[in-house]
Symmetry: C2
Subunit: 354 residues, 2 copies
């Protein structure tokens, strides 16, 4: 079968790292006999917005909804276009309308990337953050009353549905079950957020009964963030609500040295819609156009995409190539103390793929 | 004037660290000619709950509402009494009914306390987290619909009032203005939480206009937690909503080595009600009764209490004594690699006060 991938570079350094991501995917596809076809799209970018007054064409769903996956660079250019237009007009639209209810990110300390945590070595930190990606704290239900008076107030609801909570927990428990440690940690705050979070805990307990082989525990989000720093070796699979997962999946990569190389998947596990794979970093206007951006996040996201498509070997060959590349100082980009530019780093990974 | 302090040891190690807190307060009071009277209360504890079926007497407000401050150990014994009974029946009641709308915690790397962050030394990390303590995400507004069916869902509102937001921001800007760096950082998530958080940003901007001498910036909570780990030296005063402040004020102390020594104040700045000073650690059932708990969090909270009462010199003398004590391995408790027990550590600090 031939995979059809929608390619959306987006803004800023998204455009610079995308060619390297594609280069490595092509190298891995060749070695592992995977047939891929890439379709390129210019929407979901500031340039497109400037021309058309919207982030995406009206028929964006027809254009990319039948692809096997979407390979996405970065979107957003806060100085030119407000976040709620650019992000809610693309990224969050994908998540909602393609029902990508899993946001998946590895937290893994790689060779050549110094951890800000004292004494931690590659191998010490290796877990996954599973984030609910469609509901929870990111609802749009709420409003403002008594505007511009002393009585002014705003409210916004957190919404958790049984469907929404159970399916993300099921995904997380299944992932935990597939791993050697079989350990799941749930992020909660039921001692302070007294309605939604106890419900989350309740559903975790119910789901845990279906996975007797998985050991599980829960921490309140405050002490959990502390434990990411103090005991990152405690974790295997960490599951959280939209907001908690968002926090943990930036904090986790920071603990492994840099969010500059972290990948992510926005996944619809049933495959009813395409999933989006994108680096965690944004468009980084401050370094865009200089050719120095680190392409590893983009490349690693490609590896996750191949794994999601079922091409485990091709995916793994990319992750291995990333590790070997990062281990060589001269092949790393400037942000990691090396002197390679974006292209040189991307080529190095492509060459290492086997 | 004689200060009247309500003393509530609470549960678990709260009872063990309280005598050391009092010992040091008495030593500092003597040296600095401060007159203090302590009234002891046994409520807000599991023992009290077991006898009376509630955490506090009906007239708790009359009993402690006229004191100049409340010196609080720790409450909660999750195996025996659910959090929502113990915490909401005492700690959170104080915050709400005594309108302690500021939760204040220092984040400071102390000598003798190894930071989990590589290469950070005492002096490198020194900032305050200012947390809104009465509203926000900790509302009790919400509920459940369609229970026990597939359509089941729960909602909970975040509530931000103009009064509530403005007064915490004012406190934070004033604190920033009083410090050498005059720098304030606001925690937001307005790119994802689309109603309450943009409102928070709006009020920050309005308040900033009244403090032209203060430099300010804002970060989304996800990248802010990452920056606590990667760049803790960037911060001076960090202000956040109830939930964001809760997270940051556990993560911050974790970055400085341990939440075991962190102090906190739950403050009603106007002095209409007493403020509560308590260590950040909980009742720690796992080590309770062994006499090994670290009393520094309790002692440091006492220093904050003196400063709040206007006894700056007495407060500072305690913080200095803590630093000198922590610098000596033999005077530290086991959790910090020393061999002192709770009492020996407390006595050491009391002796150092000058
Ligand atoms: C015990 C809990 C309700 C409390 C909170 O979240 O406010 C605690 O974490 C704190 O920070 O004082
Ligand atoms: C850009 C923003 C809305 C987004 C989020 O909070 O979901 C981002 O932080 C992410 O994690 O993908």
């Amino acid at each position: 079968k031939q995979y059809r991938i929608a390619v959306i570079p987006g803004d800023g350094i998204g455009k610079e790292v995308m060619p390297e991501g594609l280069r490595v995917l092509e190298a891995a596809a060749k070695k592992h006999d995977v047939s891929v076809h890439f379709d390129h799209f210019d929407f979901s970018s500031y340039d497109y917005y400037e021309k058309h007054g919207q982030m995406m064409p009206d028929d964006w769903k027809e254009k990319i909804g039948k692809h096997d996956a979407i390979y996405f660079g970065a979107v957003g250019w806060p100085a030119k276009i407000p976040d709620h237009v650019s992000l809610w007009g693309s990224l969050i639209k994908f998540r909602r309308e393609f029902d990508q209810y899993v946001n998946l990110r590895p937290v893994r300390l790689m060779p050549g990337v110094p951890s800000p945590l004292a004494g931690r070595k590659p191998g010490d930190i290796d877990f996954w953050v599973v984030r609910e990606n469609t509901e929870g704290e990111y609802s749009s239900v709420g409003g403002r009353m008594f505007p511009d008076t002393d009585r002014e107030f705003v409210t916004q609801q957190t919404v958790m549905t049984r469907t929404g909570v159970d399916r993300i927990l099921k995904f997380a428990f299944e992932l935990a079950q597939s791993r050697p440690k079989k350990h799941l940690t749930s992020a909660t705050k039921s001692n302070g957020i007294s309605i939604t979070m106890p419900y989350w805990d309740e559903r975790v307990e119910a789901m845990a009964k279906k996975f007797p082989g998985v050991k599980w525990d829960k921490y309140h989000i405050d002490i959990l963030t502390a434990n990411f720093v103090l005991h990152p070796d405690w974790f295997d699979v960490v599951v959280g609500s939209n907001l908690f997962g968002d926090i943990l999946s930036d904090l986790g990569p920071a603990c492994t040295g840099t969010i500059g190389i972290a990948p992510s998947g926005n996944i619809n596990p049933e495959g009813d819609f395409p999933s989006v794979f994108e680096p965690v970093h944004g468009s980084a206007p401050d370094i865009a156009g200089q050719g120095i951006a680190n392409p590893i996040g983009m490349i690693w996201s490609g590896a996750m995409m191949f794994e999601h498509l079922g091409e485990k070997e091709a995916g793994k060959s990319i992750v291995d190539a990333i590790e070997r590349t990062l281990a060589e100082r001269t092949l790393r980009t400037k942000d990691l103390g090396g002197n390679a530019d974006t292209t040189a780093c991307g080529k190095a990974v492509a060459d290492m793929v086997d």
